[in-house]
Assembly symmetry: C3
């Protein structure tokens, strides 16, 4: 996977190819699949995994595949940002950690905004935080009926990211979006589907079989046409989405340095340590 020669204009992060076992990328039947593979940690995202996902998306955007899929190994889809990312403070202190975190998050979300081919989430179990918010940037979201969708930002002293402050009200209406983004309401798969965040829900027993059969059929459609249809939809909002992403990251950078956030994360890590 590291055979692709780096292009001179690509930023550093783009040149990396996923090498760790925590991300598994495969390509078959015109479909590139990016699989979160840290099941013992419910596929929580380490800083390394953010970089690996960006590299995998960058590679998938240029490979021969027609459709790109993001999914998870094991019972969870993704439990969100690994809060131990906050545990090791760099020499520059909290301020520097917040600065770096905001840059990483912004780059990560930009990869989803700019991804040029049909992008499908195969949500194989519960989804939390950033793995939920970026769903608004996917083209299609299939979910098992075991999946749940949870964005407990307020509980952690944090604010919405992944462009969810823009995409969620647009997708589900302001009154459903706010209960989720401000009050941290957890949705079932059926609720998320009724509100438009999820395209379709499948019984867990037949989820993988039904979803992959459908995706294989879709992958036989004319690839240029599908890419162009996606672009005509996305181009209209691309600039807005980049602005939203930048603004959300700016606010989060401040939040990460706030007492409310530090207290909430310290409390979370302390509860976790006692388990």
């Amino acid at each position: 996977a590291s055979s692709e020669s780096p292009s001179p204009e690509a930023p550093a992060a783009d040149r990396k190819q996923p090498e760790s076992d925590t991300l598994v990328v495969t390509s078959e039947d015109g479909i590139t699949t990016i699989r979160l593979n840290r099941p013992t940690k419910k596929n929580a995202l380490t800083n390394q995994m953010y970089h690996d996902i960006m590299a995998a998306l960058q590679a998938a955007s240029k490979d021969e595949s027609v459709i790109t899929v993001l999914t998870g190994s094991g019972d969870y889809y993704c439990s969100g940002n690994d809060l131990t990312n906050f545990a090791s403070v760099p020499p520059g202190g909290l301020e520097e950690m917040a600065r770096r975190g905001a840059v990483l998050l912004r780059d990560f979300v930009n990869c989803f905004i700019d991804f040029p081919k049909p992008l499908v989430a195969v949500v194989n179990g519960p989804a939390v935080g950033i793995s939920v918010t970026v769903l608004g940037l996917f083209d299609v979201v299939y979910a098992t009926d075991r999946a749940t969708f949870h964005t407990p930002f307020s509980h952690l002293g944090q604010s919405p990211e992944g462009c969810s402050s823009y995409t969620f009200p647009k997708i589900m209406g302001s009154s459903k979006a706010a209960e989720m983004l401000i009050f941290g309401k957890k949705l079932t798969a059926q609720e998320a589907c009724a509100q438009g965040l999820v395209t379709e829900v499948f019984p867990d027993g037949t989820f993988q079989k039904e979803v992959w059969a459908r995706l294989k059929a879709y992958s036989k459609l004319p690839p240029n046409t599908m890419r162009i249809s996606k672009q005509i939809i996305r181009n209209r909002e691309r600039e807005t989405l980049h602005t939203v992403n930048a603004e959300e990251c700016r606010v989060l950078r401040e939040r990460w340095q706030s007492d409310e956030c530090m207290n909430a994360i310290a409390s979370f890590l302390s509860r976790k340590a006692k388990l």
Copy 2:
């Protein structure tokens, strides 16, 4: 409630505190509750009540509470604008009445656009007109299954307000919004919920108990975080909402002076007088 000293920069309307019995404001458990209290008139809004609600929202935006709630006393949530507001024509005639009405409406709706904390509607019964349209500016809307949602603008020769010409198509899609706003279709609570205007519907028997338990739990979340999350959602649309509100009020001011409107209101008041 009148103990707060007026700040020099606040406009006149902001300094008033509700003094009438038709509005009851209480604060408890981090929640400020503004209760329409004219149950014998189905909580129809007099001109005085518009001013009192604005003053109450202004006070709540500055008090120690975390969440602000609007609700109604008795069987109705609110039957909308009291049409007897149109009965006493001022010295300037119909034109002056329309001008004043448009200024009052614009100021009133602006208070909802700019309210800085999570704002929750506890819809305890049927809602009509302006009490329905401004729901698109609330963060969360809980409704009893007895509630209905009705905007009979066309029947009264009037046009949409409360930013509903913008928020309703965005929340429920153009084809649901137009039947409501142009043809005056009345929605049940379940329909309003399926279409995203209402966050959740509760059985009438347990409505108050369930809703207040949930709000008390939410009021314990970090207050700054929730305010900031609301702002990041609202800021993106604030300017648009003010423009929409101004335009809707401009059109309504003309409508109020039209034959279609005068005939419809005269007919309504005459039917009412015969009851």
Copy 3:
């Protein structure tokens, strides 16, 4: 129907009145009804029918009617663009055919964007392609439970039109819209209603009776008020819709000259010829 004298500023297409049997226009009870009448071809749209519909909309916008309805004769609502429109290549070749097609489509969709009165679709059966996409520009869409909604653009090497790249994500959320517009998922009437594309679904047995009774009631509401309410909703998006329409037609013009599209249409016409 040709008695209306042409106004000097109207473009040529506006002056034509439908003369063919493939479109039947009637006016009664304040409702002008435009009926696609090519049931043996599932009401597929010939180039002539596009012109006739534009002329009928132009006439309806100026007549005495309050509400305008589009519906179909027979079992189908409309099977979309008649692909035999692509069979006769003009002297200028494929490039000229694509240019003309894009101009016609753009003019056609603009008529829906700019239509000034309440516009209602009475979807009496399956709907395909352009007849589905322009539904996002109607005010109200009533459908029989026999109706389906299908936009197989990718299957035909084509891209979204009728402003659907903008209206569909707004109405149904991005993840439902993309499965329909990119992957060509066919919706049932109930699904289209749940996702907001359709206002209400009726049992086929009582469809005509229920829908026309409701429309007759609506047609008695104050006509100026309804037109103004429609305009206040539409004006906010009019410029955006024209931009979207122009961009979609520009992309489609390129698509029509692509190998993917030519192969797909040739394959379709060849399969059809063998039946």
